[in-house]
Amino acid sequence: MNALKNPANMFTAVVMVIFALTPFVAPAIGETFYVTVFARIMIWGIAAVSLNLIMGYGGLISFGHAVYLGIGGYTVGILAFHGVTNAWIQWPLAIGLSGLIALIFGAISLRTKGVYFIMITLALAQMIFFLSVSAERYGSDDGLNILARSDFGVSFFSLEDKMTMYYTIFAFLVASVLVSWRLVNSRFGNIMRAAKSNDARVQSIGVATYRYRLTAFVIAGIMCGIAGLLQANFERFVSPDMMNWPRSGELIFMVVLGGMSTLFGPVTGAFVFLMLSEILAGWTHHWHIIFGPFLVLVVLFARGGIAGLLAPKSRRE
């Protein structure tokens, strides 16, 4: 496989293999907590892949993307709270709601560009954040516990089983990368990448770019909403903090760290970012004081992210 010769892709392939084997290897070496850690990383990976669709390939820097984690998660949480644990109801609703809100937010935000766009996506996400904080019935600040995971109603597939839960997440991660790959190389992706490069010119060849951007925004919102419903199931918990603005900032960071507008960058980025946080948090309570400047240095000196470091392109982005 030609693509694997690229060291950045090789790195990601190794990471994916690690993900795939962990539920078997971890108990064997007595470190089952890795299963939990990697499940979390994979969920973030899905969210990062979805952000990369609009940010890396579309040039749309959304500082409110984590809100879709919350929408997907809270839909499951609220339905479970009211006794609805049927996955066939929960999941389509979570996906539909994520898509709908992405449509509304995208329609508003995409009327602006540059910094205005960044700020509006941030502000709109804050709106939903405050909404969930003020929802006292559903836990407000403290969050909402979810007692039972989504039930598919079949005996052979239950998310209550740890392996099933883990590999469901893994399957969605693989699917999201696959979808991302096909999307980016398709006619649709062609328009998105061209519009990122020179929007005026795309319009001057007869393409109204707004509707393509909006579609991408909705697709990304849905994908992130799926990450959210997976998180709700895995953690059995949702809280407003899963969609606060530092979360959105971290998501952006993961995408940049892994290598923006590369296919596997977001997965690599999520992996490195979260592993680094775990390690640093182990050293000191005050790990942010190291992490903060680390982010600054990456931005200043390693702008192409890990993909850029491992496989520097001959042409600049």
Binding site: M127, I252, H288
Partner: protein, 308 residues
């Protein structure tokens, strides 16, 4: 109609607007002139509160705390600008967002290291801790009036500075056309440091004067920051006049919304729905306003002429 409550909330809205203005003014100057998205502006708010508060506690005088905070914030602001932000000017906005996000993490943690996680309580001096009667049976805390007065003085001072002084002219030239201003011999790096320093002092002042009411806490700057960004987007980036009007409007809408929205909703909804929807909708009100304004006028209400 409870006029006492209404007046009180209008004044509260005004006071919130003033705090927002102090933040927004610095933000819009930095953004309009240096084209820098600075998320760490909220950190200046927090640092002003902690540093100024510490001076106040050490000297025993709140007023001295405010006075000493000014040069402290000026120094801190200029140092941050010269060490980190300067490298970000040529970068695109994404890089600036990310780098200043990293700065936020750093500052929050630094404050936690120095002052501990509990925050800082800065008590009001007795002579400011009273209530004054405004007639018609309306009473209002003295200190909140002081805040409003300070804000109006600062607004007037900025108006004089930007409109009537040589530095102000340089600032306006820089906002209008940075390359030309540089070509005409204006020392751009020095100008930027000064502008950033002013912004840091304003943010620090806002943070400090709010502490007797809300306490100094880690991360206090971030929520105000987002509101401040909403304000400058509504007002028009680079416009101080726009920032002032948008701040006051935002403060009023937010405060009056929280107080009276459930009353308004009772006209349309049954009682318990209005009671639960009230707080939820009022916290979203400001963002709905912003979305509406941007939908019809993406460049804001008062975009400065000639700026990009």
């Amino acid at each position: 109609m409870d006029y006492v409550l209404l007046t009180e909330q209008v004044l509260n809205g005004f006071q919130l607007g003033i705090i927002l203005f102090l933040m927004a003014a610095g933000l819009t100057l930095v953004f309009g002139i240096m084209d820098l998205v600075n998320l760490a502006h909220g950190s200046m708010f927090m640092i002003g509160a902690f540093v100024g508060g510490t001076f106040a506690l050490l000297t025993g005088s709140f007023v001295l705390g405010v006075i000493l905070m000014v040069p402290a914030m000026l120094v801190i602001g200029v140092v941050v600008e010269m060490t980190t932000l300067r490298t970000l000017y040529p970068r695109d906005h994404l890089d600036q967002v990310l780098a200043t996000f990293g700065l936020i993490l750093f500052f929050n943690e630094a404050v936690r290291l120095i002052w501990g996680p509990e925050g800082l309580v800065v008590p009001l001096p007795d002579y400011l801790d009273g209530i004054v009667s405004l007639g018609f049976g309306i009473t209002y805390p003295v200190y909140r009036i002081v805040i409003i007065v300070i804000g109006l003085l600062v607004a007037f001072g900025l108006y004089l500075l930007v409109g009537k002084t040589r530095i102000g002219m340089l600032i306006r030239a820089g906002a209008s056309n940075r390359t030309m201003a540089g070509a005409l011999g204006v020392n751009i790096p020095k100008l930027f440091s000064i502008v950033f320093g002013i912004g840091a002092v304003l943010a620090g002042l806002a943070g400090l004067i709010i502490t007797p009411i809300t306490q100094a806490a880690i991360g206090m700057g971030e929520d105000v920051l987002i509101l401040a960004f909403v304000v400058i987007v509504i007002g028009g980036i680079g416009s101080i006049r726009g920032a002032f009007i948008a701040s006051i409007v935002t403060g009023l809408i937010d405060t009056l919304g929280r107080s009276f929205l459930d009353v308004l909703l009772l006209l349309f909804l049954p009682a318990n729905a209005a009671e639960s929807a009230g707080p939820a909708v009022s916290s979203m009100l400001i963002y709905i306003l912003m979305a509406a304004i941007l939908f019809f006028r993406p460049q804001g209400l008062f975009p400065p002429k000639g700026a990009q």
